[in-house]
Amino acid sequence: MELIIYYTLFAITVGFALGVLLNKNTVKSAMSLVGVMICLAANFLLMRQEFVAFIQIIVYAGAIMVLFLFVIMLLNLRERETTPWYLRSTRFWGGALGLTFFFVMAWGLQVFSAGTTEPAMAAVQADLAARNTPEITVLSTKMITHYIVPFLLTSVLLLVAVIGAIVMARRQDEDGNEILVEDEVA
């Protein structure tokens, strides 16, 4: 049963991923990427990693793809009719690199996962099933007790990110009045 779901998902994911690559229209590519993200989320669910699946959908498919789309529209990319020569060779080298990466990953999984992963994973799964709690519950309790310091530090990090985003998107004119960069673009 799970294998059938897995292979179906696999086919859909690869289909969307090809859609990202082969679409000449960047907006369509970005939308295909949303599909890839959602399929990945489903894959994580299959592995019972609810939290990661949740992040995939909320953060990646939700917020980050919106950001992608805005960047694409900000740069106002048009469809390119012809590919310039330097991009043609890039495509070849990129493909070669991708294939190399794939084989290295496959080899690595073959070699390194042989020892410790499976018993460890099985133990965790069995433990969770015995305690009748999904992983996210354990994780969430840990987060606000044992890992409370990094948890609170993330709020500081987000605060810094807010400041950074605003500072970098803004500039001041000669009189010290704050204006947004957009005014120069427009």
Partner: protein, 530 residues
């Protein structure tokens, strides 16, 4: 039930007094931000450097008073205060304080949003301190991100300078890559040891097996730990600007404003080195670790020493020269890091602990010395407007003898070897090389000495330019131009001069009495003000 009792029922190891320095910094940073957002008039914004400065001073005070338990884990085993991290934190604060002092001139001249500028400086210090004190990899990573994000923004905060924007962009992209490597490395180590706390990692590695949830145990997979450490080390090399991951450094140093360069050159390196030393101390508990990691770290140290010094030889821009010099200087410290990794193979028990302590002290002495020296060099360059082409330094001694002398002190100290009277640079290098020779890394130590001699060419070239070349009209114009771009305020000017004078004093004080640094640490350990 009181609030404190409620908190301690769930996280028993957290006590508000222990985390006092963190709270002080956070409140100070937030005050800066809110104060800026709420104030309408420019006049009230002039108070901001005082808010930021007093925050940093208050943090130094709370570190000195010693609220934190010494050499013991606290705050849910997240932090550990030892000599290295406390002295490192204080130095980070001082470097950021220098940036705050230099700030007003920059802010008024280049029309920079002042609230954000000072807030981000305080956040750099906050991230750096958290990183230096952390005993847990997740905390360390988040703290690193807090510090790096603040530095990226500070680099590009001068929105009217295209060079600054370019530098910020390069720094951000490469830094983000480095962070990805780092977090992947942490993931591998977590996967192998099932914990992110350094003391637990050390325990697991000592045992040689991981306890599983269901009570069973699995053997450690050495590959994971090696891959994890390698990735983590690559990430840290970016942050430390160790060759061959230093490519961003010259461009960022050149493009960023000088207060930010002071922090990039000192604060970020102290924090990263403190973290590296703590991680290495935990991982070195494992017998196999030294065999692989020694070569990795040794290679990086070797390449940094050679590439940094040779690269600096051909620079004509002062800040670019300082960037390559920082690559070389961190290379010397990486040498000590390598010795630290190799130690457990050579010594045991109490002897090992004593030797590790000695090497850590040598690194922290060098770090403090390096901070003081680069702060002095960059600060004087900032004061006289010598951040650009080095032709501006021609005959400086005839125009501004005090600045020329101060710069010469910094340069002699940066060279380190072979010059009397003893400076902090000499003492730092002496201890580092001594440790390397003592534990049979004579070849690398010899290369370090040779590269130090090479470094004398470019450091002393500047001294020669200042003292033995005739003053030209062009040199004066160069300095005046640069100075006009950045400099205006008399109060900031005066305070920076005071800071430079104390840096010069420190160079000689720590050069003659290097142990006085550790007296501070001992005093904090005793809790002398408590």
């Amino acid at each position: 039930m009181t609030t404190l009792a409620l908190i301690q029922a769930y996280v028993p190891n957290i006590h508000p007094a222990h985390i006092m320095p963190f709270l002080v910094m956070l409140v100070g940073a937030i005050l800066c931000l809110i104060f800026d957002a709420m104030s309408d008039k420019q006049g009230s914004r002039d108070l901001l450097p005082w808010v930021a400065g007093s925050t940093l001073v208050a943090t130094i005070m709370s570190l000195l008073i010693g609220f934190m338990p010494y050499n013991r884990l606290f705050a849910e085993e997240t932090f550990r205060a030892d000599t290295f991290s406390v002295l490192g934190s204080i130095t980070i604060m001082l470097a950021c304080l220098l940036a705050v002092i230099m700030g007003p001139a920059l802010v008024s001249r280049r029309n920079i949003p002042s609230g954000e500028f000072y807030t981000l400086i305080v956040f750099v210090a906050f991230g750096g301190m958290t990183m230096a004190l952390s005993n847990e990899l997740l905390t360390a990573f988040i703290a690193l991100e807090i510090m790096s994000l603040s530095l990226y923004v500070l680099t590009g905060i001068d929105r009217r300078s295209s060079r600054a924007s370019e530098a910020a962009f390069k720094y951000f992209i490469l830094g983000a890559f480095a962070s990805a490597f780092l977090v992947l490395g942490i993931g591998f180590i977590f996967g192998a040891t099932h914990t992110t706390h350094l003391h637990e990692i050390a325990a697991v590695l000592g045992e040689g097996s991981v306890d599983l949830v269901n009570g069973g145990a699995a053997a450690l997979n050495p590959i994971w730990i090696f891959v994890g450490f390698a990735l983590l080390f690559v990430g840290m090399c970016f942050k430390l600007s160790l060759a061959p991951f230093h490519m961003w450094a010259p461009d960022v140093y050149e493009g960023a404003n000088t207060p930010t360069v002071v922090m990039i050159a000192t604060s970020s390196k102290i924090a990263a080195f403190a973290l590296m030393v703590h991680i290495v101390a935990a991982l070195a508990r494992w017998d196999l670790f030294a065999e692989g990691a020694t070569y990795l770290v040794g290679f990086v140290a070797l390449v940094s020493m050679i590439w940094g010094n040779l690269g600096a030889l051909v620079q004509s821009n002062f800040k670019r020269m300082m960037a390559y010099s920082s690559v070389a200087q961190t290379g010397y410290m990486a040498l000590a890091l390598m010795v630290l990794i190799a130690l457990p193979g050579q010594l045991e028990g109490a002897k090992l602990a004593a030797a590790e302590e000695a090497i850590k002290n040598a690194i922290v002495l060098y770090l403090v010395g390096y901070t003081v020296m680069s702060a002095l060099a960059l600060g004087i360059a900032w004061l006289i407007g010598g951040e650009g082409h080095m032709a501006g330094y021609r005959g400086l001694v005839f125009r501004n003898p005090i600045a020329a002398t101060g710069m010469a002190v910094a340069m002699f100290s940066l060279v380190g070897i072979g010059f009397t009277p003893p400076t902090i640079g000499f003492m730092g290098k002496f201890y580092l090389f001594k440790e390397a020779v003592q534990y049979n890394f004579t070849a690398l130590a010899a290369i370090a000495v040779v590269t130090s001699v090479i470094s004398a060419f470019y450091y002393l070239n500047l001294v020669v330019t200042m003292f033995m070349r005739e003053e030209t009209e062009e040199a004066g114009v160069r300095l005046a131009c640069m100075r006009e771009q950045t400099f205006r305020l008399a109060s900031s000017d005066a305070l920076t001069r005071v800071a430079m004078a104390s840096c010069t004093a420190l160079i000689f004080l720590l050069g003659f009495f290097p142990n006085s640094l550790f007296l501070i640490a001992d005093a904090i350990k005793e809790g002398f003000l408590r």
